[in-house]
């Protein structure tokens, strides 16, 4: 992997163009964005679980097998890395706020539209 490329950080990058906020309190919109990202990940998990359950049905894996499972060190580290990816995903809004600090006077799409509409 190219060491200059951090997929986790780059995936959540802010697009050029000041972000519009719609709700009366922008903090509420931040929470909404987080909530929807979590909702997304719950849907992803639900789809995966559905896949697993349908496969297990045919294989005879029991509930006890699942309840008594304990990860090895390596497995636990893999799970930890997954959790880090997960948090970067659901807390994207703050990353973009921070990236936006570098360009406080950035024009909005409306501003650019006015300019582009000029002869």
């Amino acid at each position: 992997m190219n060491v200059d490329i951090d997929p986790l950080k780059l995936a959540g990058a802010k697009p050029k163009g000041k972000r519009p906020f719609f709700l009366k309190d922008p903090d509420v919109e931040r929470v909404l964005a987080i909530t929807m990202a979590v909702a997304q990940e719950l849907a992803v998990m639900r789809e995966r679980l559905d896949t697993v359950e349908r496969l297990l049905e045919a294989k005879g894996i029991t509930q006890d097998d699942i309840e008594n499972f304990s990860p090895t060190k390596a497995q636990a580290e893999q799970r930890g890395a997954w959790t880090q990816e997960y948090l970067a995903r659901i807390l994207r809004i703050y990353q973009q706020d921070i990236e936006g600090l570098a360009s406080p006077d950035e024009p909005s799409s409306e501003d650019v539209g006015h300019e582009l509409a000029q002869k």
Binding site: A11, K16, L32, V44, E47, G113, Q118
Partner: protein
Amino acid sequence: MSDAKPYEGPPDYRNVGLHGMSPETSHDEKARFNFLAHMNRHLAANILPGVKIAYERRVEPKYPSPNHRNEVRKGLLQDPLFQHWSALRRGTMELRQQAGRWVTIRQADALNAKAKEMTDGDPRLVLDPELELPNYLAKIDHHCMPGSYHDELVPGDVTGAANYDVGIFVTTGGGLGRFSDGGGEAVVAWMKKNRPNFAPKRILDIGGGLGQNVVPIAKAYPDAEVVCVDTGAPVLRYGLARAKSMGVDNITFVQANAEDLSMFEDESFDWVQSTMFLHETSVKAMPRIMAESYRLLSPGGLVMHVEQPQYSLDMPLYEQAIRDWDAFYNNEPFWTKMHELDLDQWMVDAGFDRDELLHGGVAAVVDASLFPQHATDDVEDFGRKAAWHIVGGEKKAA
């Protein structure tokens, strides 16, 4: 469930067509695209109709008899349901970009190596590293896509193009078909029906991006020499590799600005096509693009621009305001102005006679056994519905 309704909605992402440049996607990455396609569908099918009701009951009484779509939009901005629909629609686009970028950037090395292997030394990739980016692309990242069509994380990067490619499914809820080419397929269907004897030798697609809409044209006219022009090197690189992997070998991808195509001779193309391109330019660029298109067109040839419908006098201001959403809140800044322009007049100014102009409508042509058919779908996601208007011109034969 005995009372189950017939399923209406996006197909599973696993039905999306794969080609040689398709990034690998894990189970969960596919599930994420599925969720986001459903989110967009839900917002269009279940929330947006409520916004219209809120407008009629809460906004219009406070701001009666608007004279312009901007007045409607300013009123809507005060309404909580419009605010929440907007916040969710914007947030879903941001999630979509993050999901697609994660998939493609995590495998940047592999994707970039594959593109290099498939395009290095190929004369059908003509890049111009000195090309200056037009201001309408430099100032803002269109549809909130970080890096737009042009930024490269590393030399030879195609991850931005790959992200654009995988995400079209999400934004349109699968409405553009297996290879996100429903627009190009629609253009082909129009041409075969309305100009069955048209046999273009050279076809130019301007602002063609990664070529998803020109590939069906190149396939339908296999004897034609096809040129796809765009300003972004990553989309062109990716586009050539993608087309080749699909067995389409008659497209050359050229990095150029559609306002200045002086590398091509007068009257050297029989068909000049743009598909959902003009709205990403500017008032200053449009006459140059129109003039170049006319100059390049051979006698007997045809120019065709495909866009969402113009804001005509008979389009309600509410619909215009909702269609404008992407202009103001999804980084499509020229969308609003472009849709009120008199495109016919611009075509005439470029050199066409009025009686040479042509108009029509097309809807995405998709594999209807798996993908939703927007032509017959009554869920209207204004501005993103896979149904478009055609404005074109035919240069009289010499």
